[in-house]
Amino acid sequence: MSFISRPKVTHSSAPRNRLGLRKRDYEGGMSTLCAGCGHDSITAAFVQAFWELDVPPHQVAKMSGIGCSSKTPAYFLSQAHGINTVHGRMPSIATGANAAHGGLSYVGVSGDGDSLSIGLGQLAHAIRRNLNMLYVIENNGVYGLTKGQFSASADVGSKTKKGEANEQPPIDPVTFSINLGAPFVARSFSGDKAQLVPLIKAGLKHRGFALIDVLSPCVTFNDHEDSTKSYNYTRQFYHPAVHTDFVPPYERIELDDPKRDALRLELHDGTSLLLKEVGAGYDPTDRPVVLKYLDERKQLGEVVTGLLFVNREKPDLHARNGTTRTPLRDLEYAKLKPGAEILDKVMARYR
């Protein structure tokens, strides 16, 4: 479709992307999150990534569950349709929406409570179906909106504001989703825009399920010393294994000083990903090795970030279904109804 809202004020000096849109055209409503909430930084990264990717805002469908994190789709891309679903069940809405129209850009935003507690089953099955979407978990180790209970990603030893310690092992969305066959799995940190924006861009361009686990401190309930999801903790144990730079085909960025050990991954749409700092021989396509590496690092208490696993060969929902190219929702009834004559033939079997 070609309905792109043209900027109304043409003399503005703000930079424009290839669609002539300014960054503010990718913004949304005012955030109602706490000042300093990590989630707001991720919102900003979304704005940046969509703007840089020259995506027509209305061709995006934003989806979320319930939680502070799940409120954020209202805070970017106000020109796109958005949907706050019920708690933990956004993946099923995403699946249905995707089935109805395979051509939009689907971006899901969720929290660790929304995705790893109530929503774990739906997340797992969306991964298994390899929905074509970007799924971002804004991970703070707590239920922010209900005032700071531990989520399933709280690390052992974390303490709540009230002083209770978590003693249950965390669920790690990264290894969880690699185990279930997600073809694009990354981790980043809400405070690291330089890493996050390219990852979001890469995830959006990836054909299939792209999951980014973004550590996103809850300043109100989980940013004190005892929390392993605090800014301090995260900064200290932050371990970027891999950096990605997203390179759209029509504007191939040549790195000033391309590193020797850089690895270029070809994506479905002809674009590619450039992995940096793979020096240690990290190959995000070798699953057994990735699994071992991540488990080892985890045991050392490190938070490995970057693009951690990629598999470009997986067919998505529609590829497996062999769906027609026209979005199903736009097929004319004439194409759908068998008609009276066929009905008569069908009846024959039951006479």
Partner: protein, 598 residues
């Protein structure tokens, strides 16, 4: 006794008797004689007792008769119970390969032994074929005993096996073997037997799930999501089968539909809502436990105003209940599904034909009203073959997609507020994702303004839910009205729902025979239109016939129409067997006798 009796076959599931029984029933149907077929099967896969009951009914009744005249006892385990069930003067046929216990005899019926296993073992191999042929063999015996036309049987076998001549031959061999044995050893035909009629012309034998699946294809549904559950599974199977034949692009081989097997019912309904939000006609078939699991999502659909079509093929509740038995027990759980103030339109088909016809109606309603709509079928309708008039299709039908503003109009500057009641009918306009920036809005299950903004404001909230109440009033005018059969001046009436229809029809004939005449109204939808309350008002006493313990329909009538509860007498059968006319007749007689006596 001619063209008016019941055959019941007692077997073990997993032995292939189902196809033999269908062959038998279909043969009678092809002879022009109306039939009712009911399958009573266990909730397992193989090795447990199962029964198939064929009522031969020259008067074309649609319910069970409550009697068995000819019983084919193929299951030694249930022999005692089967023997007891034959009505005096009836016949019991058993496999005499193994002798039956002497004690298991009755004087008031005739017992006919046929060495089915022995004959098949001598004739066929390997073992699997022998087992299958035993079934075909009793069909042959019945053909002799009941005078079923062998040519009709052969014709049906040919349709089934097409050019597999060998299969046709071996099956016919089995048929003839049974036939020959019966002719040789018994007085054929029995007093209960068939004579060709012409009462099935223009009719088909079809089950409601197949009909509903076909209806969804014709309604233009493109996305189906489901999680398997008895007795709804065959609905999606049918949709799938029809689509694979009728909805695949002949050139590209591409599919014009997408079926997703969900991981559970919460996910299935979520997918339906997601697809509908994105503009596709989408549906899910399920049964009671699935509806319970969908409750949160249903309320979401109601409050965010997203269309959805849910087929609830009801089975016996509560909980897992009896998955292979029938009931009309989810009236409440569907109508009021979800917490908070919620109400949902429901359609109540009474037979497979209505399952077919109500599919497009359900989709039109869901999209016009922008809300989840239930179609409440049941196991009896959904999984049994019913004799119904052939389906026809009105070529002028166009799906009514409701109030949708597409890209062109938005580009032309048409203004849009997602939740504004611009037309006064309580129904707002919607737009589709991906169409146009001016159409963008945010859908949420929390409080929202007419412009779809988040709100916690008391007035905004009240405006919103009052509009939803207004929409409910609109729905009253749009849902299918009741089917009424009324003569002026009668003081008694029957009011029924769904598959209880058949029993009511026969009961009215029987009561009329006794001199008791009753008017009749069958509700076809919730909310109830004024026709329903007016009908009740016109009568002194209305018998409400339904298949659940708690008289759910009666309760809904009382609360939603304001009719006096004293007027409504409840008639219920809720033991999992499809309701019989006897239940209705006896209940009505009891009240009327009482009133006369009083």
């Amino acid at each position: 006794m001619i063209n008016d009796f019941v055959i019941k076959i007692a077997t073990v599931n997993g032995t292939g008797s189902a196809s033999a029984n269908t062959l038998l029933m279909k043969s009678i149907f092809r002879m022009g004689v109306p039939v009712v077929g009911k399958n009573f099967f266990p909730s397992n896969i193989q090795g447990l007792p199962t029964w198939y009951e064929i009522r031969v009914t020259k008067d074309a009744y649609l319910c069970r008769s409550g009697k068995v005249n000819v019983l084919v006892a193929m299951n030694a385990e249930t022999y005692r119970q089967d023997l007891a069930e034959v009505a005096p003067g009836g016949f019991l046929i058993y496999d005499s390969t193994w002798p039956r216990d002497r004690e298991l005899q009755r004087d008031d019926i005739r017992v006919l032994g046929i060495p089915l296993a022995q004959m098949c073992n001598e004739t066929f191999s390997p073992a699997r074929v022998r087992i299958l042929m035993k079934n075909i063999c009793y069909v042959g015996a019945l053909a002799a005993l009941l005078e079923i036309d062998l040519d009709v049987i052969e014709g049906l076998l040919k349709e089934t096996f097409r050019d597999k001549q060998k299969l046709i031959d071996s099956n016919m061999q089995a048929v003839r073997m049974g036939y020959g044995y019966a002719i040789e050893h018994f007085d054929c035909p029995l007093p209960f037997h068939l004579e060709p009629m012409d009462k099935t012309a223009g009719h088909i034998m079809i089950d409601g799930n197949t009909a509903a699946g076909l209806g969804c294809v014709y309604a233009g549904a493109t996305v189906g999501a489901w999680y398997p559950i008895t007795p709804s599974t065959s609905l999606m199977d049918a949709f799938n089968a029809f689509c694979s034949r009728l909805r695949v692009d002949s050139e590209s081989g591409e599919r014009n539909y997408c079926i997703v097997q969900a991981e559970d019912e919460l996910s299935a309904i979520g997918m339906v809502l997601g697809a509908s939000w994105n503009g596709a006609r989408s549906f899910t078939p399920t049964s009671g436990p699935g509806v319970s699991l969908m409750a949160e999502w249903i309320g979401y659909g109601y409050f965010t105003e997203i269309p959805a079509v849910i087929f609830d093929v009801q089975r016996v509740g509560p909980s897992t209940g009896m998955p292979t038995r029938t009931q009309q027990c989810d009236l409440y759980s569907c109508a009021y599904a979800s917490h908070g103030d919620t109400k949902h339109p429901c359609l109540y088909p009474s037979d497979p034909k209505e399952c077919f016809e109500m599919a497009p109606v359900a989709f039109d309603l869901a999209e016009r009203l922008q809300t989840p709509v239930f179609v409440l079928s049941d196991l009896d309708i959904g999984m049994n073959d019913w004799m119904v008039p052939e389906f026809t299709w009105d070529e002028t039908y166009e799906p009514d997609r409701g109030k949708v503003i597409r890209a062109e109009e938005l580009e032309d500057g048409r203004s849009f507020q997602r939740y504004a009641d611009v037309d006064g009918d309580g129904i707002p306009w919607r737009t589709l994702p991906g169409d146009h920036p001016a159409g963008s809005y945010f859908t949420r299950g929390s409080g929202h303004t007419a412009a779809a903004k988040y709100t916690e404001d008391a007035d905004e909230y009240r405006k919103l839910v009052d509009r939803l109440a207004r929409k409910w009033e609109t729905a009253k005018d749009w849902v299918p009205g009741p089917v009424v059969d009324e003569r002026q001046g009668l003081k008694y009436a029957v009011l029924a729902i769904g598959s209880s229809d058949g029993a009511v029809r026969e009961a009215r004939d029987k009561l009329a025979g006794q001199g008791v005449e009753l008017n009749y109204l069958r509700v076809r939808a919730f909310p109830f239109s004024d026709e329903v309350s007016d009908f009740i008002d016109r009568h002194e006493r209305v018998f409400v016939v339904e298949q659940n313990r708690d008289a759910q329909l009666r309760m809904m009538l009382i609360t939603e129409t304001g009719v006096s509860s004293e007027k409504l007498v409840s008639v219920r059968q809720y033991d999992g067997m499809p309701i019989e006319s006897r239940t209705v007749v006896e209940a009505i007689n009891a009240v009327i006798d009482n009133e006369v006596a009083a």
